[in-house]
Symmetry: C2
Subunit: 223 residues, 2 copies
DNA sequence: GTCTATATCCGGATAGAC
DNA sequence: GTCTATCCGGATATAGAC
């Protein structure tokens, strides 16, 4: 971040282009929207659009950051209010789905470039590690100080929940049921399972599971 | 399939193009290989390549079919020989990784267009339902008549294993450890867990889990 | 530093001639 | 069935206006 707060013309253009682009993405999908469309709709030249966003991908990265902020804001109140783990997790997940439900078409298109770690827009990439960390932090907040999860297992559990949430999002964007009720049921059912499995997880299998996740090291500290 | 067995020039061209294309994909990745490259390497014009494969995607679909046949063949012997569920599942999974280990770069590129159900090359699409069914069938064969899985739960369990296998493949293609030893450990650890969880799954939570998967209906009969 | 205009490259895809 | 020519859109480059 620079010291200056905001330049009147410059940053405004950037915001303007992003808003226009997201609108077009929602309307016509990602591939269906050309950079020429975006520039024209924003009342700028192609060159100007590329000046602010060096690629179509860069618009997606900006979109991630925006959604992540929105999700954190939407979750905050529930996280402070709700007393138990299960309902906090439900609130977090459903808040995310509510936020994304108009964007399923866009998300399907984005998903195509979202799962190979060497793609910049991948949810596993270095470029998205900050957003990813913030997303995992919401789950950590949801776990809070719940006694059913021992303190030293909380970061790992948050990462596992984030992974679960990815799987649910994958189902969500492809869900053809009315209002995606199937996804809602899947969220509730899988969270029930996870929360019911948590107690045994403290018992005999805990070391095993912890070692497994730790060894996988999907979420090693970002360099 | 048509009635004719094989046209000397035609089908041969098709096979030839596919082989050349897969070689280039392995070497330079999917995006790094152009249809012009493929056509040139195969000694044909661009138009001729498109005559046999209407899109780059079509080459991917043909690749799936080939790999599926190879995996079924590689698994068959172990399925007949190994006496217990756990070792059959391990053999099936490791056979798949052995088969795909030279293709991780290609797979990462393909993955990008592999998870939105409306993409033809998606693992969930109608276009791939036949290959998908064959892949699930291998897991069904691996379950066999094992008593730890009640007969009526076997199809569902096979589908769940296939889903697990997708997650493992996602990890596999991004695995940077030497010889992907981390993936191998993750395969063994998660299969141990699944097989240890199977007995409790027969008990109190069985109805719950079954209902959850059934309701999700990811694998509804192909129309 | 912000932007226009234009020309150009590249690769997937298609049309139509032979 | 195979070819050449062409279109389209993402991306880059450049020269210059303010």
């Amino acid at each position: 971040m620079t010291t200056r707060k905001r330049r009147p013309s410059g940053e405004a253009s950037r915001e303007h282009i992003l808003s226009i682009a997201l609108g077009l993405f929602r309307e016509k999908g990602f591939d269906g929207t050309t950079m020429r469309d975006i520039a024209a709709a924003a009342g700028l030249s192609l060159g100007a659009a590329y000046y602010w966003f060096p690629s179509k991908e860069a618009l997606v990265l900006a979109y991630y950051a925006r959604q992540q902020d929105a999700h954190a804001a939407a979750s905050r109140e529930a996280l402070e209010r709700l007393p138990d783990l299960r309902s906090r997790l439900g609130a977090v997940m459903h808040a995310k789905l509510d936020m994304l439900k108009e964007d399923r078409k866009l998300l399907r298109a984005i998903l195509r470039s979202t799962l190979g770690a060497d793609e910049p827009t991948s949810v596993f990439s270095a470029e998205t590690s900050e957003v990813r960390g913030q997303a995992i932090a919401i789950f950590l907040d949801a776990i809070g100080k719940d006694e059913s999860v021992p303190e030293d297992a909380r970061p790992l559990f948050a990462q596992a929940l984030w992974t679960l949430h990815l799987g649910l999002l994958l189902y969500f964007v492809n869900d053809t049921s009315e209002d995606q009720t199937k996804t809602r049921a899947l969220v509730d059912g899988s969270l029930d399972l996870v929360c019911n499995l948590a107690p045994p997880m403290l018992g005999p299998m805990r070391a095993e599971i912890t070692a497994l996740l730790q060894n996988a090291g999907l979420f090693a500290a970002k360099k």
